[in-house]
């Protein structure tokens, strides 16, 4: 279980995240939707401390941290319980597909090379990339790179997988494949937090949805509640605009 309390972030005078709290149960899939600039990505990146929050109390897998005052060691520990799938894939350009998946297994999980290879091969098979394990990122299409990105994030069996607009850079014909793959991860029992602009996908995959605007959650609940039963006029306005 992951518990976030009082997450706040400012850039200068501007409030990016305004006192956010969220509890995520094991195996749960939560989507965050909302207009551009609402702070969705910053929220996601605050969980693995790529953005250092001004204020945060977080418990993740028994580890408590609170900002300000998160140490380097705590930062590493938090990151080692999480993994992230990026909008721009961010595969290591100097490593092949399988080396990308192996990297955290070797350096962080301390697996032997042979074990890391076997785990990575299995992970790449499960995303349909078994024929490309020795390709470098630049030899792969965007969709293929994101498949490797998902395999890399899943292989370390994180306490939570963070998806930062995983389909926003993809060409239309790759999007459905990637969304299908994320659904598969959900069915495998991964805990997931997804920032997305794909409303139908969010509706299908999520246990709960949070709607964000100007750094605050303005509504949260089941997909049915958000999409069909929201009383919040700003939520309704946002959904009308994206549909």
């Amino acid at each position: 279980m992951i518990k976030l309390k009082n997450l706040s972030k400012h850039f200068g005078e501007r409030t990016i995240l305004n006192n956010l709290s969220m509890t995520i149960d094991e195996g749960e899939t939560i989507s965050i939707i909302g207009p551009s600039g609402a702070g969705k990505s910053t929220f996601l990146r605050s969980i693995n401390l790529l953005e250092m929050p001004d204020k945060l109390e977080m418990v993740i897998d028994g580890l408590s941290v609170s900002a300000p005052g998160i140490t380097k060691k705590q930062t590493l520990e938090v990151r080692r319980k999480t993994s992230m799938v990026f909008q721009q894939y961010n595969l290591f350009k100097n490593k092949t597909a399988i080396e990308n998946v192996m990297e955290p297994l070797i350096t962080v999980k301390k697996l032997s090379k042979a074990d890391a290879y076997n785990v990575s091969l299995k992970a790449l098979k499960s995303v349909g990339m078994q024929d490309k394990i020795n390709s470098f990122p630049k030899q792969l299409s965007g969709g293929q790179q994101q498949r490797v990105g998902i395999a890399r994030a899943a292989a370390i069996e994180p306490k939570i997988m963070l998806f930062d607009e995983p389909t926003s850079s993809l060409d239309p014909e790759s999007i459905n494949g990637i969304l299908g793959l994320i659904k598969e991860q959900r069915n495998k029992g991964y805990t997931m937090l997804i920032v997305t602009h794909e409303m139908n996908f969010a509706r299908q995959v999520s246990d709960r949805i949070f709607v964000m605007e100007n750094g605050s959650f303005i509504e949260s609940g089941s997909p049915k509640k958000i999409f069909d039963g929201s009383e919040n006029s700003r939520v309704k306005e946002f959904l009308k605009q994206v549909n």
């Binding site: 590493l76 080692r80 992230m84 990026f86 100097n94 990297e103």
Partner: protein, 221 residues
């Protein structure tokens, strides 16, 4: 006008060429030291480690802005006057140190620019997995930066290799000084220096081929 003495020309080739061991030894040792120092200094400057960053910045500025020959004479003739301990250093090692300092001043800045050219997403992906700063730099960033810096590494090696010929001014017996001795014994300046230059040229041509092969190999990723 004097005729070109081709037999002298041919005879000088093996004599000058025998200086190649010294030239290569000096160049390769200085080059390896330059790469090591440049890597460390570029990281200091990239992460802006306050006082060290300032100090290395001043040193870089100084060694870029002053003539190499002045640096060499300062290290060889100057330092031993004030600090007798430097009298124990051979001319060869003074040359190696001078070349290292001078080339590092250029290469450290090339390396820093190369590190800055690596996509920020590469750092983020690595950090997001819990790799430490050191692991991130060593396994992800520096290999990519090295590839970006490869053309400038090649240029710097060529400069260093040619700069090694300055050693003859402090008594290092290399290709150029062997040729110079032959020339002053016979008065055949044209042939002797032509031989020396051709040897430098051929070695650099070989080096450039090697560099191309490395670039082709790295272009896969």
């Amino acid at each position: 006008m004097q005729n070109i003495d081709w037999s002298f020309f041919l005879n000088t080739i093996p004599i000058a060429f025998s200086g190649i061991y010294v030239t290569l030894y000096v160049s390769i040792v200085a080059f390896l030291m330059t790469i090591a120092f440049s890597t460390v200094i570029s990281l200091i400057r990239f992460f802006n480690i306050f006082i060290l960053s300032k100090i290395t910045g001043i040193l870089i500025s100084f060694f870029r802005a002053t003539p190499f020959i002045a640096q060499l004479f300062f290290l060889y003739f100057g330092l031993r006057q004030i600090f007798p301990i430097f009298q124990g250093l051979s001319p060869t090692w003074v040359l190696i140190i001078a070349l290292t300092l001078n080339t590092t001043a250029f290469m450290a800045e090339n390396f820093r620019a190369a590190i800055e050219a690596v996509d920020i997403g590469q750092f983020e992906a690595s950090f997001s997995m819990g790799l430490t700063y050191l692991q991130t730099m060593r396994r992800i960033i520096l290999p990519q930066a090295f590839k970006i810096a490869l053309p400038s590494i090649g240029n710097n090696f060529v400069m260093l290799f040619k700069g090694a010929s300055m050693g003859f001014t402090i008594g290092v017996i290399d290709i150029l000084s062997k040729a110079k001795v032959e020339a002053s014994l016979t008065g055949n300046w044209f042939e002797a220096y032509l031989v020396a230059m051709l040897i430098y040229w051929v070695i650099i041509l070989i080096f450039e081929q090697a560099q191309k092969l490395i670039e082709i190999k790295l272009s896969k990723s």
